[in-house]
């Protein structure tokens, strides 16, 4: 069974139809790279997956669980949307770290807030001492996990630094650790290296590559074609709201079938 199943996703902003029926499925542990010119709808697709935009039509399922299906007329509640979001993580082009928190607090904030509501539920069901024990245990785990993630992205020595004290590449690595802390099924990247100085791109791509090797399921929107060729299990080309090419990196880069894909690849190589 695929980990991600997207069917006929459509999204318009006013009269502008950005996504014109996207079908996509992804196997667990695979890295999918989405390429295409700007304005083709790549970012909107990622935002739909993360429920920052609600699609006008279509369905999204993760691990066989339907998160949204517009044929089913009921609208999603805020609570459902929040729950759906936890299946996905998103790393932004502009990092969007929380400036007032240290690197480590950036990573632990969301898990700790989630723990608060979990503990409240346990308190209701099993009493306050059970909730206290659970909280203490989880807090320790969250802390340990944050240390591991920092090590994974190579920033153990920056745990107590503030985002403003870090380079762009370091900030983006913290953002990746922050997204991983919520243990999403699928981690999405929206042009994670586009806001970086050229000499800082490598350190971020290295982290992405190690994540791919560790078997993380990822969807990456990027213009780094060399990275796509090396790391992607699958590359799709998007043009004007539809997927026009879908295959292994070799197929897409060396033997593109679609005219638009050929033009695009010619213009960048």
């Amino acid at each position: 069974m695929s980990i991600l199943e997207i069917k006929n996703i459509r999204k318009s902003f006013g009269k502008n139809e950005v996504l014109k029926g996207i079908d996509l499925s992804l196997e667990k542990g695979n890295v999918l790279v989405i390429i295409g010119s700007s304005g083709s709808g790549k970012t909107t697709l990622l935002r739909c997956l993360n429920f920052l935009e609600i699609p006008d039509g279509g369905s999204i399922a993760v691990n066989g669980e339907t998160l949204i299906d517009t044929n089913d007329s009921s609208t999603l509640t805020d609570k459902q949307i929040r729950k759906n979001r936890l299946h996905f993580g998103l790393v932004f082009q502009q990092f969007n770290l929380f400036p007032q928190y240290t690197v480590k607090d950036n990573i632990t904030l969301a898990p700790k807030l989630a723990l608060k509501s979990e503990a409240a539920e346990i308190k209701k069901a099993n009493g306050s001492s059970a909730a206290r024990d659970y909280k203490a245990k989880r807090l320790h785990e969250i802390d340990k996990k944050a240390d591991e993630l920092l090590q994974q992205v190579g920033l153990s020595d920056k745990a107590e630094s503030y985002p403003c004290e870090l380079s762009g590449g370091q900030q983006q690595r913290v953002a990746i650790a922050r997204a991983l802390a919520m243990e999403p099924d699928i981690l999405c990247f929206d042009e994670p290296t586009s806001a970086l100085d050229p000499e800082l791109v490598g350190e971020v791509l290295k982290v992405l590559k190690s994540l791919a090797e560790s078997g993380k399921t990822m969807v990456v929107v990027t213009h780094e074609m060399r990275f796509a060729r090396e790391v992607a299990d699958r590359v799709v080309f998007m043009s004007e709201g539809v997927l026009t090419e879908d295959g292994t990196p070799d197929e897409v880069f060396d033997h593109p079938k679609n005219e638009r894909t050929k033009q695009f690849l010619q213009s960048i190589f």
């Binding site: 920052l52 979001r85 932004f92 400036p99 922050r178 997204a179």
Partner: protein, 229 residues
Amino acid sequence: MSQFVEQLPVVLSALNEGFVQTLKLFIVTLLGALPLGLIISFGSMSKFKPLSSFVKTFVWIVRGSPLMIQLLIIFYMPGIVFHNPVFGGGEEGRFAAACVAFVINYSCYFSEIFRGGIKSIPYGQQEAGEVLGLTKSQIFFRIKLLQVIKHVVPPMSNEIITLVKDTSLARIIAMQEIIWAGEAFLKGSHGIAGQVWPLFFTAVYYLAFNGILTIAFGKLEKKLNYYRG
């Protein structure tokens, strides 16, 4: 000179008494107008058009008309128009009326400062919180609020210093604040009459108090400078 030395303790104790009223009005206004201003700013940013239009009109009226007129209306209108003088004629009633007028007036000014502060937070902060599964209130209180506070401290300190001096407007409904206390020595009070220097002397109180506030806000600004962004 000997007369001045004789009068000084009398005048100072009267001015101190007036300044306590000034200070009380200042503190009540801050405690009321800061949270109310935040709520009004939410109202003016609401996506529900009727609410935001209503709030914006209200803010326009309050900011667009003199605080002195508002004081007079709030204090006198219940008695004169509705024959129900809720505030009564004593000092307590006058103080209460002044508090109501100041809280309303200043919460409207503060709301605009808060609105600017909230709008200045990049939308990416909201979205970063959303994709991590945070609730709307968690995003506001745990992510945005401190950033908003950092952004609003400079304009807020400006407004609060203005508030210190604006409390003197309560004189118009004969609340016994420090200007009232100083002015009393012109007409005659505590056996002293025809003296103008006590009135001038009140300015020293304002100056000293605003000096303390300026230093305090400077420290707060410095403290919030532990991060950039």
